[in-house]
Amino acid sequence: MGESEQFCSFLIGEYRCAVPMDHITEVLAPQHLTPVPAAPSTVAGLLNLRGQILTVLDLRASLLGVGRPPGGDPMVLVLERGTQLFALLVDAIGDVVRAVSEELLPTPETIPLSFRKLTAAVIQQGDTITLVLDAQHVAQAGATA
């Protein structure tokens, strides 16, 4: 049995996603965001994190193809990308998923393409499938969408 890794899971629409715990620096309660006019639709806005300005990405647009409905108080995940920080708007934070390397499976073809592009692997535990997102790709998706 390989070493177990921890993932932080969260919801985007109906999908249960996760990123490796050590990529996450912070989880924030719903925040006031400053919109960035003329930015791609994946940019939810800018966030003042103790004096540092972070770009907040909302993957709903690129993953689900729909914008965020009003209300719903989305949570903010702060992730590391290299030395830079960026943030992700998610519908809800789930629990911590522990998985050993054998439980990390290649992304099945049945997952919609928009998700597959950002997914590094899936974790199947019982009936639950968790998509492990690649932080690099997620950040890039925000940039190119």
Partner: protein, 717 residues
């Protein structure tokens, strides 16, 4: 001679030499006698060599003599590869002390005094001779408890450790030297410090905002104190990053000389204002553009000597670079007396390179033809030479300048020369800017780009604005300036039918000599903002140069005027249609003022940029607090002063009817100015203060900022 009187170069020389000596001393002291000492000897040699070199420059003969003897000895040590011994090390340490004694004298009196370190020089010489004579065998160090060795009558040379130097010579200068007063700081550490001060500025801004709400005298005092200290700290920290232009200028004469020689030209470069200081980051960004402009001036500007003679000029070409502070920014002028730029040559070239079409050329003014030089891909060089045609054009220069929020302007007269004016902010970390409200969102606009603020009421719109098809233009001086609706450009709101709006607020901005207007909803106030970098891909949108954190913790985007101009390029390119022939350059110096009937004090003009808005209130709503007239304005109670009372006249506040209030634009919203009637919006030449004549009548031109601030005294800052 006071320390401050030492020239910068001498100061630098001393600091560097002290550092080198300290390092050499450590090396020597730590020298293992059996270990390889070549590196230490080589390093010590270099130190002495550079000291000797500088001596020639500063005219320090005595110091030079000592350094020379030391250098000679080290030369022998180095070349012959002698093993070190105690005696040599000690002698070298004595040499360092001798050098330090000279530096101490220099630091105090500016020259190297009149004493010769004769004994030390002799000792160095004797040692060298001994080494040379010994054919690789070093002289035997004379230990055995002998404290002084007589090599010549009455000359003390060296001795084993400790008692080497005669007692009257203190080996270490007693007073604190320059090195103890100056330290070298890691630039990264300094940058971090600047960031922290930036944070503090934000905390200050926020505190002051809260102070406006909380009516507590002790908190007020605390907030003011925080304000004061933060401002001072900010200034000082910024100062640490400041570098004089000289550090850039000093490299240029060599460049010009080499270039002129390779082109067979005679060029003299003069620089002035080298002590003008700039943030080191900006200075760094200026390096390449300045070198490029200078190369251009030598290569394309200055003619060959015979051509100059034929043109009736002296054979030697002159280039002058001048730096000076002007209104919170630095102006750098690069002027040459060369051939100048021929607009038609530029235009032909641009046409041949396919950068413009013949039709669009037709509509361009001479100035705009010259500006074609900034087009990407433009080059006047037919061939690629070692000097030009390296693929870096004026477009890159302009981009570099605009990246540090600067502007570039070219004024050229064919046959007479070219003058290029760069306008650069002092620092990028904290900049004064205008806070704008556009479709409910706040944006910061760097003040460096702002030319003026205009408020157009429905009645005056027809006079001030012109529609060309769908596009809106502002009539300014001799030109029609394009006007862009910022909310539409940012995609915040669909284009509005502007002619139906009651009121238009237009910010006229400039960018490298081009001006255009931005329609905003409101100008909130002016603020010193701390610029925070943006994520790469937010930056790549191109409309924002950064973001800042406002007093309430919210983030505001900082608008990038260059980016906005290029986004609005469709509008702007068909723009700047000269309405009349250009008159002269002085036009830009005009100021738009509001002409007011001041009642008992006569006609008064107030610069429009000082007025944020004009409110009309009914006299019956004016309340009196302790006899002081006040009104409710934006959830604040503002004191009403009349323009008459400001000017020492009567307080002529009417008891009934409607009263117009000027709301000042500089943030002092706790005071508004009541006026009787607005007569006109007009322009006056330059920044006139005092009196001027408009339409045959004498008008007093006043600065609201000055009057309200003086009047408020120790009140709100």
């Amino acid at each position: 001679m006071a320390r401050d009187d030492l020239g910068d170069e001498l100061r630098e020389f001393l600091i560097e030499s002290y550092e080198n000596l300290d390092r050499t001393e450590q090396d020597l002291v730590g020298l293992d006698l059996r270990a390889d000492h070549t590196e230490v000897v080589a390093a010590t040699f270099r130190t002495l060599h550079s000291i000797k070199g500088a001596c020639g420059f500063f005219d320090f003969d005595h110091l030079a003599q000592l350094a020379h003897e030391g250098e000679s000895l080290l030369g022998v040590l180095r070349d012959a590869g002698h093993p070190m011994n105690d005696a040599i090390v000690q002698l070298l340490l004595d040499l360092l002390d001798g050098l330090r004694r000279y530096f101490a004298i220099i630091e105090v009196q500016g020259d190297d005094g009149n004493s010769v370190e004769a004994e030390l020089c002799d000792a160095l010489m004797l040692m060298r001779q001994a080494l040379e004579a010994g054919n690789g065998v070093p002289p035997t160090p004379r230990h055995s408890g002998v404290s002084e060795v007589q090599l010549a009558p009455n000359i003390v040379v060296f001795a084993p450790a400790g008692e080497a130097t005669p007692a009257e010579k203190d080996p270490v200068p007693a007073h604190v030297n320059l090195l103890d007063q100056a330290i070298r700081v890691d630039v990264e550490l300094l940058d971090h410090l600047v960031n922290l001060v930036g944070e503090l500025v934000l905390v200050r801004n926020r505190t002051l905002q809260i102070d406006g709400v909380i009516q507590d005298p002790s908190f007020d005092a605390l907030a003011q104190r925080l304000n004061l200290i933060t401002t001072q700290l900010q200034e000082r920290v910024m100062q640490t990053r400041m570098q004089p232009m000289e550090s850039l200028f000093s490299k240029l004469p060599r460049l010009v000389r080499d270039l002129a020689r390779s082109l067979g030209k005679q060029v003299v470069l003069a620089t002035a204002g080298g002590d003008t200081e700039l943030d080191r980051g900006i200075l760094e960004a200026l390096r390449d553009p300045l070198v490029h402009l200078l190369r251009n001036a030598v290569d394309h500007g200055i003619e060959l000597a015979e051509d100059r003679l034929n043109a009736g000029k002296e054979p030697v070409g002159h280039i002058e670079i001048l730096a000076r502070h002007e209104g919170g920014s630095v102006m750098i002028t690069i002027a040459d007396d060369g051939a100048g730029i021929d607009p038609s040559v530029i235009a032909d070239r641009a046409l041949r390179l396919g950068l413009v079409t013949a039709e669009s050329l037709g509509s361009l003014s001479a100035r705009e033809r010259s500006d074609l030089i900034f087009l990407p891909g433009f080059s006047t060089s037919e061939e690629v030479t070692s000097v030009s045609g390296r693929g870096v054009g004026m477009d890159v220069v302009r981009t570099n300048i605009e990246q540090v929020s600067g502007t570039i302007e070219i004024n050229s007269q064919k046959g007479a020369g070219t003058t290029i004016v760069l306008r650069i902010p002092l620092t990028l970390a904290i900049i004064p800017s205008l806070m704008l409200l556009v479709a409910g969102q706040r944006f910061a606009l760097p003040q460096l780009n702002v030319v003026e603020l205009l408020r157009l009421e429905r009645e005056s719109m027809a006079d001030e604005l012109a529609f060309v098809g769908e596009s809106l233009f502002l009539r300014r001086d001799s030109q029609l300036l394009p006007v862009v609706d910022l909310s539409a450009l940012l995609g915040l709101r669909a284009s509005r039918v502007l002619s139906q709006l009651q009121l238009l607020t237009i910010v006229v901005v400039q960018l490298s000599g081009r001006q255009f207007g931005l329609i905003v909803d409101r100008v909130v106030d002016t603020q010193e903002i701390v610029v925070k970098p943006l994520d790469d891909f937010i930056g790549s949108i191109g409309l924002y140069s950064g973001a800042t954190i406002l007093g309430d913790g919210d983030v505001a985007m900082i608008l990038d005027v260059a980016g906005i101009a290029s986004r609005a390029a469709l509008v702007l390119d068909e723009s700047s249609i000269p309405e009349r022939e250009e008159t002269n350059e002085e036009v830009a110096e005009e100021e738009t003022v509001l002409l007011i009937d001041g009642g008992s004090v006569g006609l008064v003009a107030v610069p429009v940029f000082e007025i944020e808005r004009i409110e009309e209130v009914d006299a019956s709503t004016i309340a009196y607090l302790g006899g002081v007239p006040v009104m409710q304005y934006r959830e604040m109670v503002a004191e009403i002063v009349t323009i008459g009372s400001l000017l020492g006249g009567v307080n002529d506040l009417p008891a009934a009817g409607s009263v117009r209030m000027l709301i000042p634009s500089f943030g002092a919203t706790d005071r508004v100015v009541a006026i009787r009637e607005i007569i006109d919006i007009t322009t006056i030449g330059g920044r006139v203060t005092g009196s001027t004549i408009i339409g045959g009548k004498i008008v007093r031109v006043i600065s609201l900022a000055e009057m309200l601030v003086t009047r408020s005294g120790a009140g709100h800052g």
